[in-house]
Symmetry: C2
Subunit: 239 residues, 2 copies
Amino acid sequence: MSQSLKTILSLRELILSGELKPGERLSELSIVDRLGVSRTPVRMALVRLEEEGLLEAIPSGGYAVRHFSEADIFDAIETRGTLEGLAARLAAERGPSPGQIGEIKACLRKLDILIQDEHGADTLTGYVELNEQFHQLLIHMSGSRVVARQIERAVALPFASPSAFVEVQAMLPESRAILLVAQEQHRSVVEAIERREGARAEALMREHSRVAHRNLVMALDHQGARELVPGMALIRQSA
Amino acid sequence: MSQSLKTILSLRELILSGELKPGERLSELSIVDRLGVSRTPVRMALVRLEEEGLLEAIPSGGYAVRHFSEADIFDAIETRGTLEGLAARLAAERGPSPGQIGEIKACLRKLDILIQDEHGADTLTGYVELNEQFHQLLIHMSGSRVVARQIERAVALPFASPSAFVEVQAMLPESRAILLVAQEQHRSVVEAIERREGARAEALMREHSRVAHRNLVMALDHQGARELVPGMALIRQSA
DNA sequence: TTCAGCTATTATGTATCCCAAAATCATAAA
DNA sequence: TTTATGATTTTGGGATACATAATAGCTGAA
């Protein structure tokens, strides 16, 4: 593993865990001391994490940990939903290959099976994996590198990912119901794409992203649930 | 001006002018020789230009000039339109301040005056400036940093900018008609936002971006018009 | 006591050097 | 003639030394 990658991973962990607080300025030398790598990979990591959205450049030079408001999380989810809606519409309009449709239907079936089981031991990680795979396949079906790239960037924010809220969701009593609704949306989107119904596919994908909105509200209300949301350490009320 | 910035500007110019051809691998040392700066700012510039989308990272290390297809331009425009549509909807739903509405209406009036004049000497640069300002104000009215950032990134691709096609458009016989339509869309979007009509504002902004689609088709047909489109040097048929 | 200005320190920006890995080319063997 | 292997060269990643700009702290004067 390269020193740069090691530094990126370490810094990201420090930021997401809240050890480095929002607004805190990151001096290159302090990171050098902390992580034991030289300034070159540190600088590389700082640039990459700014691109990712976790850091912001200070006008006079250097970087600080970025802070977000609750509204920012909302907007990030809405942005992802909008872009995934675009991807779904493009997929529907352009008509994906039978192979792609087969793949995503196989993914749907696996999710069905997983959901049928009452929540077992590692059901959660399995769900996260399959859910991410579904979203990935959908993006691929759009057939657009440009859109795919844009979604990648939108999802880079930790709380914007399609599975950012599965952990909090699992804590809720209505958890299972939400899962069923989400899966119904998955199924309907695929159906819409198959039938070349672009507007429907887009609307469904947008609405699908809004289960995250609901989970967000839940997470904000229940004090214990907050730390289950990745990146929650970056949230400041007044930001 | 810093060496890094100088390198970024020089490299971008070399890429957009087509002097560095799509697919061409960029060796750090060759750039050092070419531009007379050391490797450090060169490396920094390469990272930033990859982020911008002009370069792509090679798995084994290093960077190559990215190439795009005509479909990619189409998708980039559609992506921008979708995100600007999101911004317009958010602006409408949230209700911008009277000051913001005043600002964008002032911008509209200036555009009106400019369009009324028969095409004068520097009407074009004036139009580009006001047009960009309009789009900027609209983004600001959304009230969302997250959305603003995402649009910034989408617009970084040279042919995705709101004013990427004004030069080709100016060559067309129906140029004036297109301008009038675009301005009507500007006006309608502001009206929709004022009336808190989110769906209308979004649809209008999307449709507005599609004047670029039309101009793109024109540019691709007329051989002389191609080089008026920024970034056209990056287009490969089969990409 | 407060503010201005200077200085010292620390931070980032830049250049250069070293090293490891990968691509390439040449040569030899099948 | 083709393929495999080894040497050479090139390239990129990393470390460090140097230059320059920013900042904080201190001193002196109002």
